[in-house]
């Protein structure tokens, strides 16, 4: 669903410091009603801090916040009835069952008994957790915990939803299901604020994206517009044996028409506005005693935009994905 033009979330000059450490630094953005907005950045960039400030779990040092048109700068509780939050870690009660957790969360929003029980059953079905409804949350697998936490965040059918890394650390099938549910909620008109460090996830789901690095928004634009900047580029990924640290510098001096970057361990990224001629590159590397085991054409993606805008190596994001160990980019 497209945004209707009015703003669900308005943030102006938001700043938060933890002692000497800057959480977010003078960030401003707006999210339209019904929009699916992505907040993309590496770990520690300020994504969770931003969500905590917007949901009232942290107090701001400077700036202004409006949620659903309500000024929450001084009173973060003012708009909490409009908001659902799915945090980056499960925060439900280990001693309660899945069903009890959902009905309890519904009660926190003032839902009546019949209504909350019906909604809990509905969500358990949606998230394929009906069979585990009467099991204690403590005994759930990581993926099940994540899904139930998601269900708890939308139990009261909030018009604005904050999702903090919703697919991090869960299996491929669960991640796919969660992404499907996010897309459905968006289609139904829910405003979604999604933080993620899975670039492909943001590219697939979001209408607009902000890149945040070290507490600063470095770029904010529509996903299509962001992708325009890398369209028409030719990118080749060379997988090599025993790559040397300075090999890309040597290649750049011999082939000035191309740009070279280490993409990952034993991978070289070659970028050019013209098609890349692989033969001379392979020969050059072989002369240096480096074998090319694979040459793969890479279709420009949001990851390339991210690298271009932030200067952060794609490899760093890759490491984060591996560390998270989940199915986020599957």
């Amino acid at each position: 669903m497209k945004s209707d033009g009015s703003s669900a979330i308005e943030v102006a000059n938001l700043t938060k410091k933890y002692g000497e450490v800057v959480g977010v630094n003078d960030i401003s953005f707006q999210v339209g009603n019904g929009e699916l907005f992505g907040f993309l950045g590496p770990n520690g960039a300020g994504k969770t801090t931003t969500i905590n400030l917007l949901t009232g779990l942290a107090s701001l040092d400077a700036g202004a916040i409006k949620i659903g048109g309500i000024d929450c700068t001084r009173n973060p509780k003012a708009a909490q009835h409009l908001v659902g939050t799915v945090p980056d870690e499960s925060n439900l009660y280990p001693e309660l069952t899945g069903f009890e957790n959902l009905t309890f969360c519904a009660a926190l929003y003032g839902m009546r008994k019949n209504e909350r029980q019906q909604r809990a059953r509905e969500l358990l079905e949606t998230f394929s957790l009906t069979d585990a409804a009467d099991r204690k949350f403590a005994g759930y697998s990581k993926g099940m915990k994540r899904k139930l936490t998601f269900a708890a965040g939308i139990i009261h059918q909030p018009p604005i939803l904050f999702l903090d890394e919703p697919t991090t650390g869960i299996d491929v099938a669960s991640a796919r299901q969660v992404r499907q549910i996010i897309a459905n909620l968006h289609r139904q008109g829910t405003t979604v604020f999604l933080t993620t460090h899975y670039i492909e996830e943001a590219e697939r789901l979001c209408e607009r994206i902000a890149f945040i690095v070290k507490g600063k928004i470095v770029k904010i634009d529509g996903t299509t517009e962001l992708l325009q900047s890398v369209k028409g580029k030719n990118i080749l990924i060379l997988t090599v044996t025993n790559s040397e640290p300075n090999v890309t510098k040597g290649m750049a001096s011999v082939f000035p028409q191309y740009q070279f970057e280490p993409a990952a361990p034993n991978q070289i990224r070659v970028e050019s506005p013209e098609p890349v001629n692989i033969g001379p590159l392979t020969r050059f590397l072989e002369e240096k005693g480096i074998q090319v085991t694979e040459a793969r054409r890479h279709l420009p993606s949001l990851e390339d935009v991210f690298v271009q805008v932030t200067g952060i190596e794609a490899g760093l994001m890759m490491k984060e994905k591996e560390k998270a160990g989940g199915g986020g980019n599957q």
């Binding site: 949901t55 009232g56 509780k77 908001v83 945090p87 439900l92 009660y93 309890f104 926190l108 003032g110």
Partner: protein
């Protein structure tokens, strides 16, 4: 109405998940029994003197009943982040903290009536001023709970909360006139007694049960009420400062 639904469900969840667990129920019975037995044996008094010990045993039951669980459960919920779920709900912090503490208050009050029920079999209780005992028990329950809340908000780990609790609770047994009259304490220690809220609750209980009290009941009730308000407000301020970073 919505606020009441949230309040009652937080209260009911805590009662079910923490306070009505068999180990806590049995602890609530055994603890006052053990203290009563200990003081009987130590003092060498006869069964007829049970009423002299009753105010102290009632107070200690409330004090330990309220503070033990609350400080642990709150710190635990904060550690496993389930407290965040409550902070995200559209209920005021005041309502939320009252809901979280109401289970402990009720548990403390119920604990207080266990030694009273035992004493009823052992002594003549017809002379007790119940119109003073009941509100005093409720106020001691509230003030002890808010003291527990104040302690748990200041702690970040469960073991810290337990250590802080004991740091306050054990001196209070000796300083607040539970078993030794405040006026029998050395003069230089007495000011400490009068800055502790439980002293005023025990004073009411001694007056209502045995007819001996230091201050007027009205003053005791006013001071207890003031302690409840101050401790609750301080705890709220600390929650905002320490937990909503």
């Amino acid at each position: 109405m919505k606020r009441w639904i949230a309040f009652s469900n937080i209260f009911a969840k805590d009662m079910r998940a923490y306070y009505l667990k068999p180990p806590n129920v049995s602890w609530g019975i055994i603890f006052p029994l053990a203290w009563t037995g200990m003081f009987f044996i130590r003092s060498g008094m006869g069964i007829e003197s049970v009423l002299e010990l009753l105010p102290g045993v009632v107070t200690i039951s409330i004090l330990f009943g309220t503070t033990s669980l609350l400080s642990v459960t709150l710190t635990f919920e904060r550690r496993n982040r389930s407290f965040e779920r409550l902070l995200l709900a559209p209920i005021s912090l005041e309502t939320l903290m009252l809901a979280k503490t109401s289970g402990a208050i009720l548990f403390g009050i119920v604990n207080a009536f266990i030694p009273i029920a035992i004493a009823a079999f052992l002594a003549d209780m017809s002379g007790i001023a119940w119109s003073l005992v009941v509100p005093a028990i409720i106020l001691i329950g509230i003030v002890s709970t808010f003291l527990g809340l104040f302690i748990s908000v200041s702690a970040s780990e469960v073991f810290e909360a337990q250590t802080f609790s004991n740091f306050f609770r054990f001196p209070m047994i000796f300083l607040c006139g539970l078993f030794f009259p405040v006026m029998s304490l050395p003069v230089y220690i007495r000011p400490l007694s009068f800055i502790l809220p439980v002293t005023y609750g025990v004073d009411i209980l001694h007056g209502a049960v045995n007819g001996e009290h230091i201050l007027s009941f009205t003053l005791d009730f006013i001071i207890l009420g003031a302690f409840c308000t101050v401790l609750f407000l301080l705890s709220l301020r600390n929650v905002k400062r320490r937990w909503i970073l």
